[in-house]
Symmetry: D3
Subunit: 251 residues, 6 copies
Amino acid sequence: MRIDGRAKDEIREVKIEKDYIKHPEGSVLINVGDTKVICSATIDDRVPPFMRGKGKGWINAEYAMLPRATNQRNIRESSKGKVSGRTMEIQRLIGRALRAVVDLEALGERTVWLDCDVIQADGGTRTAAITGAFVAMALALGRAVKEEKLTTYPIRDYLAATSVGVDVEHGTILDLNYEEDSNIEVDMNIVMTSKGQFVELQGTGEQATFSKEQFDEMLELASKGISDLVAVQKEALSEFSHLLESEGEEK
Amino acid sequence: MRIDGRAKDEIREVKIEKDYIKHPEGSVLINVGDTKVICSATIDDRVPPFMRGKGKGWINAEYAMLPRATNQRNIRESSKGKVSGRTMEIQRLIGRALRAVVDLEALGERTVWLDCDVIQADGGTRTAAITGAFVAMALALGRAVKEEKLTTYPIRDYLAATSVGVDVEHGTILDLNYEEDSNIEVDMNIVMTSKGQFVELQGTGEQATFSKEQFDEMLELASKGISDLVAVQKEALSEFSHLLESEGEEK
Amino acid sequence: MRIDGRAKDEIREVKIEKDYIKHPEGSVLINVGDTKVICSATIDDRVPPFMRGKGKGWINAEYAMLPRATNQRNIRESSKGKVSGRTMEIQRLIGRALRAVVDLEALGERTVWLDCDVIQADGGTRTAAITGAFVAMALALGRAVKEEKLTTYPIRDYLAATSVGVDVEHGTILDLNYEEDSNIEVDMNIVMTSKGQFVELQGTGEQATFSKEQFDEMLELASKGISDLVAVQKEALSEFSHLLESEGEEK
Amino acid sequence: MRIDGRAKDEIREVKIEKDYIKHPEGSVLINVGDTKVICSATIDDRVPPFMRGKGKGWINAEYAMLPRATNQRNIRESSKGKVSGRTMEIQRLIGRALRAVVDLEALGERTVWLDCDVIQADGGTRTAAITGAFVAMALALGRAVKEEKLTTYPIRDYLAATSVGVDVEHGTILDLNYEEDSNIEVDMNIVMTSKGQFVELQGTGEQATFSKEQFDEMLELASKGISDLVAVQKEALSEFSHLLESEGEEK
Amino acid sequence: MRIDGRAKDEIREVKIEKDYIKHPEGSVLINVGDTKVICSATIDDRVPPFMRGKGKGWINAEYAMLPRATNQRNIRESSKGKVSGRTMEIQRLIGRALRAVVDLEALGERTVWLDCDVIQADGGTRTAAITGAFVAMALALGRAVKEEKLTTYPIRDYLAATSVGVDVEHGTILDLNYEEDSNIEVDMNIVMTSKGQFVELQGTGEQATFSKEQFDEMLELASKGISDLVAVQKEALSEFSHLLESEGEEK
Amino acid sequence: MRIDGRAKDEIREVKIEKDYIKHPEGSVLINVGDTKVICSATIDDRVPPFMRGKGKGWINAEYAMLPRATNQRNIRESSKGKVSGRTMEIQRLIGRALRAVVDLEALGERTVWLDCDVIQADGGTRTAAITGAFVAMALALGRAVKEEKLTTYPIRDYLAATSVGVDVEHGTILDLNYEEDSNIEVDMNIVMTSKGQFVELQGTGEQATFSKEQFDEMLELASKGISDLVAVQKEALSEFSHLLESEGEEK
């Protein structure tokens, strides 16, 4: 039995509140259980130096936590004067994941910035950030199409992320909360499209190892979780479903 | 006539949502018009090095904005690797203001950290941060008294902050929003207690100067605004009003 | 009775030594009692990025203390690798104050840099820096007019700064030295023009509050102090008095 | 046909030169094709702050490249004043991977530092670093057992890492060199033990996605590569094989 | 003929003003021609970590220039957030030079900090800083002996520094000013004691080389310059001459 | 008798392995006894900002040590976030030394970067770096002439560096190893050309002084050491000896 009563293959309750803050081109507050992340999308008419003159765009993500998003107060990275390795790893992951479903040529020489700010953390902040950032980006780009700033919708498919884990006591479980995550032996983060393709997969045995069988079990659970998440995304993005669905079919 | 239809001495609509995030000892989301700040209070059983061994506590504040709290995306201070002069000025102001109504001896060798994170900005973020941080701190310390971690309630009086400005077109106006603030000639931030005492007062003529008469007019408007803000604070803090009111009377 | 025998409304002895160092376009050593600040003005034919192409100039100030300007040695900010919040606050204040009496359009696309280096500190270093920096700037711009690099003198009025304070023992006193400042309850820095207009006003009750009556009393003392300081500035700037006085009259 | 004539499931030539530099407790120069990494192990009788007093040890890794390890000169991270996200990601990966096969309690309150310095890069530097660092660590700890500084050998199993990739032209291939890596669609780094257990697995589709079938094919190739790498490690560690083999059997 | 009319073996006019600022244990303003440096000595009752518990003291120097000490304004190192290579080289040189004439055991577990702040530069700032810092240190330690904080005077001999240079037009010349230094081919800084012993010697041919004959000629000129500088130091330190002379004789 | 059995005027065994790493335009591994430095030369078709538009080139050097190049592990400068004073001093020295034998006009608007990475340290790392960097640079520029990227060979003469020291026990000795260096009283680093001209000379008495006689003795030993080092360089550069010798004769 899981600590919060969920079944092994059950994700936490997911809510996506659109236009949570008014200034960004697209923004959401995503709740995955008690994990809450504000994701906002900014469309910038420039690309980073290494992309200039290629006729293609770029997707860049930044991730941060409020100091009291967690149980203990964390020192701000701005006060420390540097971004931690963990933060860098996460923001690189978010950007890479989203780029996998965007046609950078259709985007043109633009950068989409995704700011993912965790205001409350209860495990799975990076996967919630990816799932929410996808929606913020899809909203911003959908509006750009509507306002005729873009001629083609550059997103190819829905994209969401979740975690799975294995331990002796619970076996394989889906969508770990903080307490579960603290006690897990093997931990995997998985990013997938609505068509069941993998985009990113990071499995780690911290002080432990895992077998091919455990691994296959984890992938199956993840696949189920991603379907559930994409269902919530589709609802949030209903106004742009015609753009995404047709895109999806072509590819 | 003001841009949003308010009277000259009218503050924007203020809402204080308690326990907005679950981990901190006290937290609020304060809305002053479209300005939204998450304020959380952390009680730490240590004091900074310069306060050690004095039998007294300390109040420390940190302030930040999400990159898209504003209309244009701002680069994160953690990415820049340093905190701007503006941010430092604001966090020093918040800490200093709150210390003026706290009996640091009654607090004992503890630090109260106030984290003020602006998630949406529309002018007056620093004054909203002070007004909200006071409530977060009062909640955290009220609970510490309730849980008998503190024997005396160390807060002496309610404390709130607002802005006033003067320009040729509008005369003297209270509680500037972003657009008003951008066009103002003289700008003043005022921090006061519920008893009408001044705590901090910063008046600036950016590219302009002001007279004693204008100054007195500004103080009068500010005084009215502070009363309105304290009324909202009192409601949010009703569960601890017995602590604050009796304190107030003694001093 | 004050610790150094001064009357409540008496400033310390002020000396302004012109051209104290040879390279800058304008430089002074200002002594306010035992507080000594080297102020130098540099005219740079560029403006900061945010001012480019507006046909206007800018005034920028930097402030620092020698490590042994004070009784205890301070670690250099260059060794720490960052500028403290206090320093940033002061340099922003100096720049803002001086900009209030300069016609930035008449200055053209130029930056005047004011470097204020405290070589000996005995209280009131920021107000001495403003008073001295005004003279250094006035000298540099006066010479630019003389050498026909500028057609109009862009300074509109004299500008000086002083401090006032209140405590139980001494009441309200003008121009605090270090020892007085260490024991004061309410502390205010005031920047004014020779015509009695306010430019900046920062009053702070560190662990205390103050009333409107105390406040008015402080302003009156400050006003007297500013007159005394401007008298010394006028003497130092006698060679350019024709420029400043006529400017003063027009506005 | 691969660019360097290898079969799809063939790793590059691997050489491990022991005691390449004289000062460290253990050091190797590992060559995987043209990729050359100096790995050295330092045993430090302290643990990081977060591990103090737990009676357990820690494994920490640092990774860097000489500026001309690559075809274009890279700016040193010491000159830039900060470590890149890529470097942080890699050093976290190396440390985590090695910890999975070390009994931290048997290690006691000690840190093993692994310094992995790439002197020549031709693809797969992070996996070569893990494979080489394992040997450097095994040597250092083997000597510590020999010198009776440790009573038990804390390493549980051999550990090596390799990469696999998929693209349209070549299908699935093992141990990518730089040129292959530059053109690949899906890229996976895999860390495994000699017993075929997974320790870490990071698969990424940069601008692409991949299916479960492709994934399984990649794992199979990786498994073969790891066996080949462990064979070379066993030879390099022959003097300590009694320690490692018996350890292996117990667990 | 030299640009300022001096003979080849003639130093510029040297003035040493004692107790230039009031707070430090010892301080001077040294003028070497138009080069002006404030040197202050602080005695700190601690030693740096690497010297703890050895029963010996340490001498540490810091060097900086005001932004307008030079003809062009330099950006402050505190604003840049790091100390330049040139500054580091100079402060290491000053500290090393002074340590050569101090008996660190007689000093006890104390650090003498020498702060050398160039307020006006006209060539030879590092050698002026050494010559002035020696006097500031000698004053501070002399007073410590007088106040019986030290039982023995730890300084063994007078120490001064100067520069010499060679170029085609002027041959070998002593004590270069800024303009001479800018055009020189070979440049040497020499630190010597009053007894003619060398302490430090740094000769550099920037884009040029030099012979043994030129080198010997430079040493001879330097030796004359040092005698002239020590004569001025002796005058400034007359009150402590009994301490320094007797020390000198013993060794 | 010296600790490793060498005569007073005997350098350690020197080996220069050409093309040690494959990517740079020129690279060597230099061994001076147990000191091992990888030196690589990169030719960059740009010059630093201060050299632009002068039709001349520049030589820039960077120096670093692997953390375990030494007996105790050193913290990486990239982790500390800044380059130490010692490193800056050394890289400035290497660049300055090499520039003295290069005709920067013949080089044209190009920068030669010399990266000197110490992989094993046993005293004299900076002098080994200069001796090795010269060869790496000479190789890179020789190839540029061969490939007709340069019309003239810009190197004027061979250049090498060594150390000499004096102490009571051993008198004056050449090419100090780490243990000798740790106990020496006077330490001098000397850079010379094959024609016996001085380029740089840095003599330091750490806690000691030295006489003209000791100094002359040191120069004589150094001169012998440089001849021995240049002999090894000539062998390594035999393929380009026609370029260097003819250049040498002209000047």
